[in-house]
Symmetry: none
Subunit: 137 residues, 4 copies
């Protein structure tokens, strides 16, 4: 056969921690920040004191959703609004699917190499914290 | 009692692989293609390089939904739109239920003998790939 | 391709109910009796008044285990005792695996066409009830 | 920071299918063969006609276990036998953990690039089928 292997580029653990740290430093309220690798698997996570227990799950699922689909979770709302079957059906059908803001893919040279997910405040605030995390790169 | 047995006609494993291969060959974007048998149980699956991790689950669930209900998953949206209780309730209530396109039953002589599920692009494209898979029969 | 279809022989719903009824009639204590088809999927179930809530699950899993592997669940103990890796590993590794008595495959002309699972008393009593169920065929 | 990225080498989808096909061709009994990528995510699967329904799950979990830990699943038994706490505790504690044979990592140049899992017969036979699959590389 032709070469049976291919290369995946993914964020390192050290970079994931730096991204989490930057997001935590920028957070104005107790939040959970998660970074996943290119495969959508957890690389680093911090739960700030007082962050809601639900945020542990939501932050991870935001990152997972952003990594798999390669786009910010906040963009899903417009997609779902303009596509009635998907709008009705995506939520219950797709495991761990989050269709509101707070998940951002980590894109380097056009490749998705991971994602960050933030949960703790309103999703519009979570997005800003996630952006602050990515600025660490 | 009268005869306690009945016959179920189902797609073979070899046919399932041929259907998957034909769908993969027709796919214009990285997709997951799954074929289930008449009982809705997985028979063959391929994840193309670069297909979203979520598509592994969605493709299987589209096939499962199509096999069980015996109709294309794309037809569910109109059903749900015209039936408010079902429209609101079916998604969360029915395990592995997918109500957008990409799942097609495999029908031979009027019998559902399996189903194909495709996930990777927009559901309208997934449907075309699934149709290309069924053309292998 | 060669013919893409094959035939599965499975127990009918009416036969499944007859088997359940016969097992219930033979039960000396409150039990759950379940019959699954050749694919291991539930066909008929009765919970007798006073049967433990756990028995609803155990009876179904006994039937599922017996249908999939095509042998009485009671035979697993000897298999596991003589095979150390499987003895240690099978229980946690195999979904819905039951390795004690009460599940019997329904075999007709050498083919597994379904299975019965009984739970409610000691497994050795469950086996007798399951056998009484199969005598209805 | 130093470069925030690293490269993962993983088996391609085409190679995964070739490995599955080679294992299926070598199988003396109805089996399920699954290949996962370096991240442990499903890449290709075939269920041969008549393979136990349980094998669909077990084959995938064997591959997942072998990919994650980077060693044949058959080697776990000796590890568990010599480590009482792990021996008792690993099975229930570790998701999708399989500690008997049939899962083999795919190793190229010392790197785990994926894994194969086979289920259908005795685990010692499953191992041989898995080896035949890897010979396709």
């Amino acid at each position: 056969m032709t070469t049976p292997l291919r290369q995946i580029t993914t964020v390192t653990s050290a970079a994931a921690r730096a991204i989490v740290d930057a997001a935590v430093a920028a957070a104005g309220q107790p939040s959970v920040v998660a970074v996943v690798d290119a495969a959508g698997q957890l690389s680093a996570l911090t739960r700030m004191d007082g962050a809601p227990v639900q945020a542990i799950q939501i932050a991870q699922d935001k990152a997972y959703t952003a990594a798999g689909f390669g786009m910010p979770t906040a963009q899903w709302h417009e997609v779902l609004r303009e596509d009635a079957p998907l709008g009705l059906g995506a939520g219950p059908a797709i495991d761990r699917f989050v269709a509101f803001g707070g998940g951002l893919p980590i894109v380097v040279d056009g490749q998705v190499v991971g994602a960050i997910g933030v949960s703790g405040g309103h999703w519009s605030d979570d997005v800003k914290i996630a952006e602050a995390g990515l600025a660490a790169l």
